[in-house]
Amino acid sequence: MLKKLTLICSLLAGTAAMAQDTVPIPPMDVDAARAELGKRLFYDTRLSGDTSLSCASCHSPEMAFTDGEALSQAYTGAAHFRNAPTLANVGYRDAWMHDGRLGTNLNDVAREMITETYLMNMDMRIMQERLKQDPKYVEMFAAAGMSEPGNGGARNALMDFMKTIVSRGAPVDTGELSDAAMRGKGIFEGKANCAACHSGVRYTDDKPYNTGVPSNPDIWADPARHSAFVTYAKFMGVENYMNLREDLGAYIRTHRPETKRSFLTPTLRELVWTAPYMHNGTFATLEEVVDFYDAGGGDDPLKDARLKPLGLVPSEKADLVAYLEAMSGETFDVDQYVWRDDDYDYELIEDWKNVQN
């Protein structure tokens, strides 16, 4: 599917006469009842250990399912060491997490988020019993073809809901590019060569690169963040984790030194909603990101060799930003993506002794 889309995309990109930059990203095939169940689960704080966080706490529909923070908040008593990525088109990704450590499916991603100690810190055996105590879930699991609420089913439902989160109505899709954006497109594909990595309909190749993004000092200054990082590095089998003061990115799964500090190319979809930028939120604006690449990226001995100073003049930078902004579509803060009812209640099971558990 992706290959076909990429092909179409490059064909289109090669046709300079066409105003339309790419094709709209098609909806993914999901079970509607399961996705609806997933939508309710996505906004339910009872999926976290102390019932303080839902998925939406860090992936808010108002910000294209990000949280607006440089570094995400994470679980009570902890703080995260990475930026919350957008969930727009998340079902199309080849791998998930900035380091790409999850490469299977969104069911596994949901499990990781729910159970990880510094994320939602949920013992899913408790989660399952919580779901069973909510008659609305009992009803929705049945409607989705499941005999009763369960963890595997909940994760599948979250997966299907996440698959429905697909960009709509971006100027790059509708063909309504401004003149500036059109010029920016030329720079993106030409002089600046952003498209070398930011390719395809999602503007990403889902591969890790070291671009020399500076470390975010807030990670190491805050024991709550740094201790979450230590937990992660230790679990991933990184040697000497107590003395690390850098995020090793994809190295934590490859353990090959040349992959240190490399991070997956992020999608460029929905950027107007998802500031700040980069895996550690170190840049507040798209202008800063463009300046960073114009300067040839950051300072790192392992930096990708293709990164060179671009020599963009201010008008070219402005055009590039206009094009980047044209990759953003309509808000996700609409009923299709948001469970609006505050109907998250447990119900007492009456006649407890005689009802089957």
């Binding site: 250990g49 008593g77 201790s227 407890w352």
Partner: protein, 374 residues
């Protein structure tokens, strides 16, 4: 434990020799010092570290639930409610047991699930309805506290604090939380005036007509064996949805067949360790020491006062889902009200003064020194 019993018996013999004014029951004893495991010797520094850790929320999932949350000194080092609170968003499913004299038990938890205080501390810190912590995270946090880095190096020789060592320090601290000078101990050690006449009558009944000492014997007043005495199920399962959630979680997490998971409505207790049907509803005989401060009583707190407990046994115990396993030792006792009062008075002699130490200041996490990534 055998060593202790032998010690206690010889002590009792010694003190009984000179006076002989009053006989002492030979199946009860004064409490001596607690056993110290050879692999976790006590040092003042280790105990001081364990004390801080006991009161520090750092050993929990949300950095908010110290051991002392559910074992509060002001609440008898327990929770003065039927069921322990549990982690935020949950409730527990059993009564919180006092830390006082926990050093003497061979196994910890109501059904003996932990073989040592060290293991118990780890289970409590990690349990989903208790501390809900994860070892890697808790260990990482400890490393950010300069006082702990120093103390773990001094006490255990750690480069960085090891969470296993944290549990050892906590266990060492708990082994200092003992009470060996109750009126009962003083009486057993030869002070005839340590018990009132009523308490002495209660003791007589305790070892005689009421036969409490059939199980509540030795220096701890517990045989550390497991019985179903017909304690009724926790009534919160009838009216609290969150308690219903926890109950099913425990059935599921501790290992049940599907049929058992679907149909069980009471705590199977020892069954979870042995998987023998005959062990359903059995719980370890609790020590009767320090019970003045540890109300309510039984594994699920279903009896409110010590008098309620005596009345319960006077009536031959109760009924629960697993009554087929009820101990034959539990029979109606035919005690009159005065006799019940006497036993209650004796039970009160098993508690000394309330143990209320000043709580330590808990140190804070600080940024780590700069390092060079190598």
């Amino acid at each position: 434990m055998k060593h202790l019993t032998a010690f206690a018996v010889s002590l009792a013999t010694l003190v009984a020799m000179p006076a002989m004014a009053q006989d002492r029951p030979d199946n009860l004893a004064a409490l001596g010092p607690p056993p110290i495991p050879a692999d976790n010797p006590m040092t003042p520094e280790k105990i001081a570290l364990g004390e801080k850790l006991f009161f520090d929320p750092i050993l929990s999932g949300n950095n908010g639930m110290p051991c002392s949350a559910c074992h509060a000194p002001s609440a008898g080092w327990a929770v003065q409610d039927k069921i322990s609170f549990g982690y935020p968003g949950t409730t527990h499913w059993r009564n919180s047991q006092t830390i006082i004299n926990s050093a003497y038990y061979g196994k910890l938890f109501w059904a003996g699930a932990s073989g040592s205080l060290e293991k118990q501390a780890r289970s409590a810190a990690r349990g989903g309805v208790a501390g809900n912590g994860e070892d890697d995270m808790m260990e990482a946090r400890l490393a950010f506290v300069p006082e702990y880095r120093e103390a773990f190096t001094d006490v255990f020789g750690d480069d960085w604090p090891s969470v296993r060592h944290a549990y050892m320090a906590i266990a060492a601290y708990q082994r200092t939380l003992v009470q060996t000078d109750t009126p009962f101990d003083n009486y057993m050690n030869g002070d005839d005036a340590a018990l009132t006449d009523q308490q002495k009558r209660g003791l007589e009944l305790f070892t005689g007509k009421a036969n409490c000492a059939a199980c509540h014997n030795g220096a701890l007043l517990s045989d550390e064996a497991y019985y179903n005495t017909g304690v009724p199920p926790y009534d919160g399962w009838e009216d609290d949805p969150i308690a219903q959630i926890t109950f099913r979680f425990e059935l599921f997490a501790k290992g049940s067949t599907e049929e058992m998971y679907r149909s069980t409505k009471d705590d199977p207790g020892l069954y979870f360790r042995t998987k023998q049907k005959a062990d359903k509803g059995k719980f370890r005989t609790p020590s009767l020491r320090y019970t003045k401060y540890t109300f309510p009583y039984m594994h699920n707190g279903m009896l409110e006062t010590l008098r309620d407990v005596v009345v319960f046994y006077n009536e031959g115990g109760g009924e629960n889902e697993f009554s087929a396993n009820k101990s034959e030792l539990i029979q109606p006792l035919g005690l009159n009200d005065d006799e019940i009062d006497d036993i209650v008075a004796f039970l009160e002699s098993l508690s000394g003064d309330e143990i209320l130490p000043e709580e330590p200041d808990v140190p804070e996490m600080q940024p780590l020194p700069v390092a060079d990534n190598n």
